[in-house]
Amino acid sequence: MAVDESDRNYEHPLYSMPGLSVAATSVDKLLTWGATNSLWVFAMATSCCGIELMATAASRVDADRMGTIIRGTPRQCDVMVVAGTITVKMAPRVLKLWEQMPEPKWCIAMGSCAISGDFYRDIYSVIPGIDTAIPVDVYIPGCPPNPEQLMAGLIRLQEKVRAVRGGEWAPKDERPETEAMQKTAPSIPRLLSAERSPDVTLAQLLGAGNLGLGGALNRAADAPPLAAPQETSDAITTQAPTETSEGAVESPSEDEHADA
């Protein structure tokens, strides 16, 4: 049930067959060729990016020509493209759908909402990036990214799949934690972060498993204690509850929005 992060280097069953190592290499090349050129997409399309995802599948850009077909059910798909804002109400469903996808599977975070929450990241109902719940392989920035950008992201994923199956891929070094990055860290640490508590992952999985009961029951009953949310110091935070506060307007948010 759980997402095992250490198992990213998928090993094909052919590897374990004795005496076939030479033949298996050739067969594996064929399988890799097949896997990379038939990445079927499960469109986890919630908002604006979903329209660009549709445009990517439509006539002008035509993702079909590289074997990428959008399917309606997670059980037939290799790639989940998370396109759009994921809310607290939707997140357990996304996790549940991710678990229904067969291994090997990959995830693309499309657009700034799926990457970090964008300007909704501080809002009570939005989760700050889908990689706080499921592992992401390729990030495609933009609000929304153009169809061409999504195609570039899919090609990046093909390269990654090739490298993973060829045994060349290794995760990048931990990026240096600058002060600016610490400021914008989400209240729930990301999946690969050292600060993330396993309790959070467990609670998320329980929440995805018991959709009918809601998260509160899991929390209230015998669920393990959650990690305390980190202190974030954003411009919006400091002025939230009171009427009289000032100073938030000098924040650089206007520039970000102009780019968006």
Partner: protein, 159 residues
């Protein structure tokens, strides 16, 4: 065809509105809320447009009891689907613990709109057939659009 003059005359004669401002819709008593909607529907305002509630927190030392304790101001809009598309907007004020008569029996569209305002602002409607939250999960605590609700309130384990 309804006209603005007719709406003004109705409020002045039957609902005791004396203050008129170009910047704000007229304010009527909360007990008259349902009756006004009923009268307006008979007079041709048959298109249900919106309801918007806004939370005003209590002000210490205010003379008015409602202002001192804090209240919710509710504006409702009805439209006549005629040539001039006349819009009638009025406001009412209800205390934080009080209930306001629902308009669901007059306008079926008020069902979801009032649920949304209950969900986000916390105004309660008496006689609503389905008083559940609309936008947020059922187990949510608090009403986000109240002034004392911080925008970045955490909701473990998701944010």
């Amino acid at each position: 065809m309804p006209t603005p003059e007719e709406f003004r005359a109705l409020l002045e004669d039957d609902f005791g509105v004396s203050e008129w401002s170009e910047k704000q819709p007229p304010l009527i008593e909360a007990v008259d809320h349902h009756r006004l909607a009923e009268v307006l529907k008979e007079r041709g305002y048959t298109l249900y447009v919106f309801v918007v509630a806004s939370h005003r927190p209590g002000v210490e030392g205010a003379e008015d009891a409602l202002t001192a304790a804090g209240y919710i101001e509710l504006a409702t809009g009805l439209r006549s689907p005629t040539e001039n598309s006349q819009l009638a907007i009025w406001r009412v004020r209800v205390g934080l613990d009080e209930q306001l008569a629902t308009l669901v029996d007059l306008f079926a569209g008020a069902d979801w709109q009032e649920r949304e305002q209950f969900d986000l602002v916390g105004v309660r409607f008496a006689g609503h057939p389905d008083p559940r939250r609309l936008m947020l999960p059922e187990d949510w605590e608090g009403h986000p659009l109240r002034r004392d609700y911080a925008i970045n309130t955490p909701h473990p384990p998701w944010r």
